[in-house]
């Protein structure tokens, strides 16, 4: 693979907007999602969930349930292997995952899975749940992050000791780990700064809110071979996790990816699949498990509530000189909040010589958090970008100028360590400055705010095959579920390399046995990493085509190049063909048609661990209108500017920018988990977990900046994560502009904003 990112290259398909190849299936209702699949003789599974936020399980008696006609099996944690507490690989602890899938000894949150039933109908399975008798010993619970860290707090895990402390503690704690990033001498730099601003921020637990509930079907044959049909962000992950949890060989499980109805990070782990597999093994029948919406809210990974303290020091000349940050993130019932990512992101946009960042991962009696779009970054940006806005006001500097003065660029050392290569922060700031929105007049009770967001983006493993058909059309086989148009982007890259029409390429998301390992669709990696694999596999096909042509022409392969889907003879080869009166060009269709007689099928393969993911920056601008009597905020205008490196399919890049902004707007204004005193989620549905509806949003303007990523053949950066990072601070800054009130607690809902307005005498 070359380092040239094609900035000099003329593209035929890259940057065009073909209709996605899976589009017709999805507008006609033909596409099959997780719950759209049945098998003959299939049983239906439902999960019994804890009515307590924290309790010891004394006894489970399923005899009455098993006696109900139509009930075929009931399983508890006794039916799955108990894993050693320290069984982990990378950030995933499989003992915790096993105990999350089915509670063992203790339930750690309201909704924690306790048992599962397989029956001949969903109604019978649901009735059976009400017949399972569980003897609980309720324990004191803790729902607040401060309380969870306080001495004497109810301890969730007796074996847990805080990691990352200077000397290892011997007392159990709910603080799972502490991490730290430092540079320079922050205390001295703060002491020398012209002024210092210190603030505390709080954000609420929120959910990814994908519209498709988790769903799967599992079937196990008499020989122990299991097939799982599931919608997820990674069927290889489903396979690996299920095998690990159930102590099965990976070769015993095949996972067939269904279309996925949204994930945003929430479908990067397993909940139902291991249960369906065990039930299918127990009953010898196919088992389907589909969550209700209520279960999705109560028991799947939300994004953490957080508590963040930041202290910024700045000089009158507009230079930010030092920052001190403390981040406390709720992990939920098991360790593993995205606090490390939050800590690494919080100062990433700033060129800073002196800082300390501390991150704490805290467990409490809420569901185990899962990844949510740029995991950990939005709360961190809320804190940093709101204080930056305060500094700009204090200094009476334009907020974009202040950010530009302190912005990282190529060669800057990122707060999280390494030096940046080519990045587009300054370019995005300048693009927004030029946008008409930036100078547009504001109406009464309106205000304007902006904020910057950062995300690393990811590489990881991808595999792809490009198969040349007999007529010169092609099939792209890869293994990343298409969550937002990636089939189209990957087909575009294959078409670009092969030099054929994009509609002559069929992209296929293959099952775990039909293509090499692909890591999850997540981390904004598919177009980057899997795209890289598709490009390499296509180049492999091109190389083979050139060889075939050389053999047919009986000339030296080095004299054959690839142009617009044709092998073209050059140099001596071209001379020879000219003497023989032959055309020096051979189209791919001709090479494909003759393949059988020139060496057999032509298939290109690539499996790689993609390096060189390009960090993404975005800057958002929002106008709000505030009803000072009710505290209601309306979003009246929204503009997003983002460095995409290279937009392969601009429509879907814009779509990611708009969708991320909309999720950020919901997070900022109304979304929150509301718990009652018993630790029961009070709003486990779309009626009271208030995600934005069409009427809540304006059109969302997008400006795609392209600073090519030098480590991708086309210059691609990930685009999916970063758009959710700036909205919260941008809106908080706009509310301040409109009302003079600083919101430092989420959500900025009407009651919370009206309370602040009243306190400030501005209602």
């Amino acid at each position: 693979m070359t380092d040239s990112n094609g900035s000099d290259r003329k593209f035929k398909w890259v940057g065009t907007r073909p209709i996605r190849h899976d589009g017709v299936d999805k507008v006609t209702g033909r596409a099959h999602y997780g719950a759209d699949f049945d098998l003959p003789g299939m049983l239906h599974a439902h999960v019994l969930r804890s009515p307590h936020a924290h309790a010891r399980i004394r006894r489970i008696d399923a005899s009455k349930a098993l006696a109900l006609e139509g009930v075929k099996a009931v399983i508890t944690s006794d039916d799955i292997p108990e894993l050693p507490l320290d069984e982990a690989s990378g950030p995933t602890n499989f003992s915790d995952l096993s105990r999350n899938v089915l509670a063992r000894d203790k339930v750690l949150y309201h909704g924690h899975a306790v048992a599962a039933v397989a029956a001949t109908s969903t109604r019978i399975a649901q009735e059976a749940l009400s017949l399972i008798e569980v003897d609980y010993e309720p324990l004191p619970h803790v729902l607040d992050i401060r309380a969870a860290m306080a001495p004497g707090a109810p301890i969730l895990h007796d074996h847990m000791r805080t990691k990352g402390l200077k000397e290892a503690p011997d007392e159990p704690s709910n603080i799972a780990s502490k991490m730290e990033l430092t540079r320079g001498d922050v205390d001295q730099a703060l002491a020398e700064a012209d002024f210092v601003i210190e603030r505390e921020f709080e954000t609420a637990t929120v959910h990814q809110g994908y519209i498709e509930p988790h769903a799967c079907v599992a079937q196990t044959n008499e020989d122990g071979q299991t097939t799982v049909w599931a919608s997820s962000q990674g069927h290889f992950m489903i396979r690996a996790y299920s095998a690990r949890l159930l102590r099965l060989d990976i070769s015993q499980i095949k996972v067939i990816p269904m279309e996925i109805g949204g994930g945003f990070g929430g479908k990067t782990t397993v909940y139902l699949e291991p249960l369906a597999i065990v039930l299918s093994r127990k009953t010898g029948r196919p088992v389907k498990a589909v969550m209700t919406r209520e279960e999705v809210f109560r028991a799947t990974g939300p994004a953490p509530a957080t508590l963040i303290n930041v202290k910024f020091g700045a000089n009158r000349d507009g230079k930010i000189v030092a920052a001190k940050c403390e981040l406390f993130y709720e992990a939920g019932a098991f360790p593993g909040s995205p606090v490390a990512a939050g800590a690494m992101c919080i100062l990433a946009p700033f060129d800073l010589d002196h800082f300390t960042i501390e991150g704490y991962d805290v467990v409490l009696n809420k569901p185990k958090t899962a990844a949510y779009r740029a995991p950990g970054a939005p709360p961190a940006a809320f804190a940093a970008e709101t204080v930056i806005d305060e500094i700009a006001r204090e200094l009476e500097i334009d907020p974009l100028d202040l950010r530009r003065n302190n912005a990282v660029s190529k060669g800057s050392q990122a707060a999280y360590g390494p030096k940046f290569s080519d990045i587009g922060l300054i370019e995005t700031l300048d693009a927004l400055r030029k946008h008409p929105h930036y100078e547009a007049p504001l109406g009464e009770n309106q205000g304007r705010g902006c904020a910057v967001g950062f995300w690393f983006n990811a590489g990881m493993q991808s595999s792809a095959e490009v198969k040349l058909n007999e007529d010169g059309t092609a099939v792209v086989v890869e293994g990343c579920p298409d969550i937002g148009g990636s089939r189209a982007s990957l087909a575009i890259m294959a078409a670009e390399e092969l030099g054929i029409d994009v509609y002559k390429v069929r992209p296929v998301v293959a099952d775990t046995e039909a293509v090499g390992i692909n890591d999850n669709t997540g981390g904004s990696r598919v177009t980057f990493a899997t795209g890289m694999a598709v490009i390499e596999a296509s180049q492999d096909v091109v190389r083979q085509c050139c060889e075939r042509a050389a053999n047919i022409w009986d000339i030296d392969a080095k004299d054959v190049i690839w142009q617009d889907g044709c092998a073209v003879a050059t140099g001596d080869g071209a001379k020879k063909l000219d003497e023989e009166g032959k055309l020096p060009s051979m189209p791919i269709a001709e090479i494909a048609a003759g393949a059988a007689r020139t060496g057999g099928p032509i298939t290109g393969k690539a499996s790689l661990n993609a390096r060189g993911a390009g960090p993404a920056f975005a800057v958002h601008l929002v106008d709000v209108e505030v009803d000072r009597e009710t505290g209601k905020v309306d979003i009246v205008r929204y503009t997003t500017v983002q460095d995409a490196g290279r937009a392969i399919h601009p429509s879907y890049v814009e779509g990611q920018m708009q969708g991320g902004a909309a999720q950020g707007i919901g997070w900022a204004l109304n979304e929150e988990y509301v718990y009652d005193a018993d630790g029961v989620l009070a709003n486990p549905g779309f009626l009271d977990y208030r995600m934005p509806v069409a009427l809540d949003l304006p059109m969302i303007d997008t400006v795609v900046v392209e600073v090519p990523n030098p480590r991708h053949p086309y210059g691609v950066r990930g685009v999916g994560e970063v758009p959710i990072v700036p909205p919260i601070p941008a809106i908080a800054n706009a509310i301040h502009d409109a009302t003079g009130v600083r919101m430092r607690k989420l959500p900025m809902s009407p009651p919370n904003l009206l309370a602040e307005l009243t306190r400030a005498g501005r209602a």
């Binding site: 950030p91 360590g417 994560e721």
Partner: protein, 81 residues
């Protein structure tokens, strides 16, 4: 020799040393060399860390090449959404 920047969280092993020059052709050799110099550190660096080599973040690397002039950082692993 490659320059390794060691984060503060490893100071129990490094005694606060932040920059080390290491002669290594890949990550495995680099971690071995660090473990010889700071006994016990190797184990901490082997599992569940990400490494940035010249600004490129790689999760859980082993044989990733390290250039003589490379700058190497150890980071917490990052999961994407």
């Amino acid at each position: 020799m490659a320059t390794v920047i060691l984060p503060a969280r490893f100071s129990d092993w490094t005694g606060g040393v932040e920059h080390v020059d290491v002669d290594a052709r890949d990550v495995r050799q680099l971690i071995r060399a660090l473990d010889e110099r700071f006994p016990g550190l190797g184990e901490k660096l082997r599992d569940g860390v990400a490494i940035a080599i010249d600004g490129e973040i790689i999760n859980d690397p082993l044989l990733e090449p390290v250039e003589p002039d490379s700058e190497v950082h150890f980071l917490p692993p990052i999961s994407g959404g």
